[in-house]
Amino acid sequence: MRAPVGSAQAPTPTTVHAPWSAFRETIHSVAERADASIDLTLAPGAVRRRWMPVLAAGLSIGEYARSLVRRLAFLTACLLAGIWLLAGQGYFWPAWAWLGLGVLVLVDLGAGWAWRRPPGALRRVACVWTLVVVAATILVCTWLLTYLLAQDRSFWPAWALLGLGTAGSAYSLIALHDRLLVARGRRALRARIDMLTRTRSQAVVAQAAELRRIERDLHDGAQARLVALTLQLGRAEMRVLDQPELRGLILDAQREAHLAIAELRDLARGLVPPLLADRGLVAAVESLAARYGLGTAIEADIRRGLAPAVESAAYFVIAEALTNTAKHAAAQHSWVAVSDEHGALAVKVGDDGRGGADPHGSGLAGLRARVEALDGSLRVHSAAGAGTVLEARLPCG
């Protein structure tokens, strides 16, 4: 049993006895201290509780078993070391037992770690790697022990380790292949969503700005030219008052110009209502409410400049709601509330009329499209006989 050891490490009688007497003294002092503390402060069984976990401490059977195994392994390792010491040392055989116990603990820890992975391929791969690590540990430690205790210098586990590593990697690759692909697909998808969100909001903002620019161009361009045209026709007419035929032609031309001006005006109004462009949402809504003569109560709490796109959407929501109230609701009261709420413009329009509005009607569907283009939401509450409330939320990014 005695292993060949170098002369430098050969134990002398003093070194044999010194550790043992120290150990005995430690045991004695621990025992004394333990007794003293049992007597003085701890309830009976406190020491046992510390070393032996109990089910009552809120542990599951599995956790209880695992902690018991770990502690038993530790105690066994100590016991074997003690026996070796008492048996007069020599070849350090407990190392092999320690290896066995260590593998037990390692399996326990590895299994616990693997089990905490999400179920599926990732957990299976973790289990495989736990086995690989356990096997590799057994191999390497066995080699280490033979190297240290038996002086075997060849690193014989190399091929086995290579095999284990290759097998583990191959298994991981196969098991996680789909997952890696999906992750890449998902990343690409997310990037695409980000891009679409960004470009859509840019498009909406650009569209609102473009509409205002077109309205301005119409005003300063075509509309102004047509007005100048009627002005010149008017001047021409004054010069041919005595030529009825010519005057008739001029008046016809003027009528056409007037029709063109009226059409352009309606077009421009549909793009951006002038009051909205000039004075903003609140003034435009007040004018709208006055126009319907519904006695609409208006409450506005807006603390910042609104983007043209948001402003227009809010305006058209309110306009559509008030038009519906005036046309269909037969309401006594009508109200509009516009407020800043957590980074969004909250618009509510309500009446106490007959309700029963069709939330999928063409008018509301058009509004919904307009609101959703801004990542907003539109809700309609319109139970029969309970009035109608239109709620829109428009993020102000």
């Binding site: 005003h219 010149q232 110009a257 421009a268 002038p274 000039d278 004075r279 003034a283 004018s287 003569g293």
Partner: protein, 217 residues
């Protein structure tokens, strides 16, 4: 009559100036924005200011605000505001407390030279001229989304709208190609239907109608 014109579009400004000169109206200054208008008015003390609603630098209601400010400084000044669209809210603000010497017309009305020149004289003399479009809009609204609550006929609506532009019975008759007698009959009917006291004076007639339509506060 001496006039200051505030209009930023050269095409229209020059056309207007030519039109006024042909009709023996002196244009003492032409400006392109609100502050310049106020300076010109203080310098020239004209009888009338013709102002475009939309002026630089803001291109919103700069002209309207300048016109209101000009009236505050010189209450006797006649102000005719021109616009490519009419807003009843703007009409109401412009008229404010005192509607004497106020005009609010669509730009294309310059095409009807005679009526336009009449309107200029009327406003400079302290009359009130409101575009028929404002009246038409107010009538539709007050009527409750197009329902003929007051039972005005289409012809009566036309007459009412022309009345608001400050036109005389003769001018209305000419415009609608009817006899002055027929116009008088329509007017009597309108005043009866709107329950307004009848009156002959053109300016007071406009006011009565506008007050009824609640344009004037």
């Amino acid at each position: 009559m001496r006039v200051v014109i505030a209009e930023d579009l050269a095409l229209l400004r020059e056309g207007l100036v030519a039109l006024l000169r042909e009709n023996d109206i002196e244009v003492v200054a032409q400006v392109q924005d609100g502050p310049a208008l106020l300076r010109a008015l203080a310098g020239h003390e004209p009888d009338l200011a013709i102002v475009d609603v939309r002026l630089p630098p803001s291109y919103s209601d700069e002209g309207l605000l300048a016109a209101i400010e000009a009236r505050r400084r010189q209450p006797a000044l006649g102000v005719l505001v021109l616009s490519q669209y009419v807003e009843t809210a703007y009409a109401s603000e412009l008229i404010g407390e005192d509607s004497a010497g106020i005009g609010y017309l669509l730009k294309e009305r310059v095409g009807d030279v005679k009526a336009f020149i009449d309107a200029l004289h009327s406003v400079a003399a302290g009359g009130t001229v409101i575009d028929r479009q404002v009246v038409a809009e107010l009538l539709t609204l007050r009527d409750g989304a197009g329902e003929a609550r007051w039972g005005l006929t289409a012809r009566e609506r036309d007459v009412l709208a022309l009345m608001a532009e400050g036109r005389s019975n003769t001018a209305i008759a000419e415009s609608l190609v009817v006899t002055p007698g027929a116009v008088e009959k329509h007017i009597t009917n309108i005043f009866a239907k709107l329950e307004l006291p009848a009156c002959d004076d053109d300016h007071r007639r406009v006011l009565a109608v506008l007050a009824y339509l609640r344009v004037a506060r």
